[in-house]
C-alpha cells in the first residue's frame, strides 16, 4: 500500500500507545471482565517451600518497515468494523479498547452500535434409541458490536486495523467493510448515441 511521510507520525504515536496500553492491555481487560473459569486465575495459596513454576506465552513480532512513495493515498468514507463473539462482556472490553485506541490516534469515530444478538437453536433427541418425546435443546448465541470510523486515510486504516486485529481476543471474529469513493469510468460518462449518430442512418 502507499505510505506517505505522514505515516511516520502515526507510527510514533502507535509506538507510544503500544507502550502505554499494552501494560493494562486488552488481554488484561478481557481477563478481568469475562472469564470466571478457575483454570485461568492463579491460586494464591501456593507455598513457596516446594518448587513451582509458571509458563506464559510471549509473543514476538517482527519490526515493521516503513516505505515512502509518491502515490496518493486512498481515502475511505467509512470503515465498519463488526465484531462477533459468544460473550457480551468480552465485546464490552474490546469496544473500550478499540475506542480508546481510536481516540489516542485521533481517528474520527462514528457511532458504536450493538446490533441485536442472533440465537441459533437446535432440538435433538435426548436418547440414542427411541424416546421420541424427550428432546434436548442447545443454542448458540452470537453477540455483535459495530464500530464506525469516518473519513479515514488508507494508511491510518491499515495501521489501526492491524493493531486492533493483533489484539483480538480468542473466540472473537471481526469483519471489516471499507467504503471508498471511485471515479466514474470514462466509457459511461457520455451517452453512446452522441458519439455514433451515423451508424443508425447507414443501417437503414
Amino acid at each position: 500500500m502507499a505510505a506517505p511521510l505522514a505515516l511516520r507520525r502515526d507510527f510514533f504515536s502507535l509506538a507510544r500507545i503500544l507502550g502505554g496500553i499494552s501494560q493494562l492491555g486488552p488481554r488484561g481487560l478481557s481477563a478481568c471482565s469475562s472469564h470466571r473459569k478457575c483454570s485461568q486465575t492463579p491460586f494464591h495459596f501456593l507455598q513457596t517451600s516446594s518448587p513451582f513454576f509458571h509458563t506464559a506465552t510471549y509473543l514476538s513480532s517482527t519490526p515493521l518497515t516503513i516505505t515512502v512513495t509518491d502515490e496518493p493515498d486512498t481515502l475511505f468514507q467509512k470503515v465498519l468494523v463488526l465484531v462477533k463473539a459468544h460473550d457480551r462482556a468480552v465485546l464490552d472490553s474490546y469496544e473500550f479498547f478499540a475506542t480508546m485506541a481510536a481516540k489516542e490516534l485521533g481517528i474520527n469515530m462514528g457511532k458504536v452500535s450493538e446490533p441485536p444478538k442472533d440465537i441459533e437453536r437446535l432440538t435433538l433427541l435426548k436418547s440414542v434409541h427411541i424416546y421420541k418425546k424427550h428432546r434436548v435443546q442447545y443454542e448458540m448465541r452470537t453477540h455483535y458490536r459495530c464500530i464506525e470510523l469516518l473519513h479515514i486515510t488508507g494508511c491510518t486504516a491499515q495501521v489501526y486495523l492491524e493493531y486492533i486485529q493483533r489484539n483480538l481476543p480468542e473466540g472473537v471474529a471481526m469483519e471489516v467493510t471499507k467504503t471508498a469513493m471511485e471515479k466514474i469510468p470514462d466509457h459511461i460518462l457520455e451517452p453512446i448515441w452522441k458519439d455514433h449518430p451515423i451508424d443508425d442512418k447507414s443501417s437503414k
Binding site: 469475562s34 472469564h35 470466571r36 473459569k37 478457575c38 483454570s39 485461568q40 492463579p42 491460586f43 495459596f45 501456593l46 507455598q47 516446594s50 518448587p51 513451582f52 513454576f53 509458571h54 509458563t55 506464559a56 506465552t57 462477533k84 463473539a85 459468544h86 460473550d87 442472533d118 441459533e120 435426548k126 436418547s127 440414542v128 434409541h129 424416546y131 418425546k133 424427550h134 434436548v136 448458540m140 448465541r141 452470537t142 483480538l168 481476543p169 480468542e170 473466540g171 472473537v172 471474529a173
Partner: protein, 171 residues
Amino acid sequence: MAASLSSSGCARLMTALARSSVLYNSFESRSLHVTAVCCKNQAARIRIGKGDKPLTYEQAHHPHQIAHRKGWLSQHTSNLKGVEGAAERTVEDVFIRRFMFGTFHGCLANEVVIKRRGNMLVVCALMLQKLPPQKFYFLIGYSESLLSHFYKCPVKLDIQTLQDKAVYKYL
C-alpha cells in the same frame, strides 16, 4: 467427562421393569405409573452423594450455567454465525484433550482450556506438582513441538502448578 447414557438408562429401565413385575404378582390392586427413563438430564452432571466426593468449580456447575457462572473450555470462532469449520476444530480439541491427559498422566488438576488466537493454538492447563520441574519442562517442550508439527501451526502451552486440586464443593 463422557457419561454413557445408554448403559445407565438400561439399568434404570431394568429396575423399573423388575419393580413392575413384582407389583403385578401381588394381589393388591395398585396402579402403576412407569415413567420413561429419559426425563432426567445427566450430561456433565455429578449427582449429590454422601458428601465425601471433592468437586472442582468446573465439575460442580451444570452445563446450563455456561455463560452465567461458567466459562468456555474451548474458545474459537467457528461456532459463531456465518463462520465455518466447527467440526474440524472440535476434532482437534478432542485430540488435544486426550493427548494432554495422556502425556501428563495423573497431573491434570482441572480441564484443559484451548484457545485459538489467529493461527496460534494456546493450551492452558493446571497441573499438580507430582513430577520434578525438569520432567515438566521436557514434557511441555515435547508436547509443544509435537502438536505444532501435527497441526502445522504454532502451539503454546500455558501451565500453572498447584499443590492439590482446588476443591469448590463436596457432594
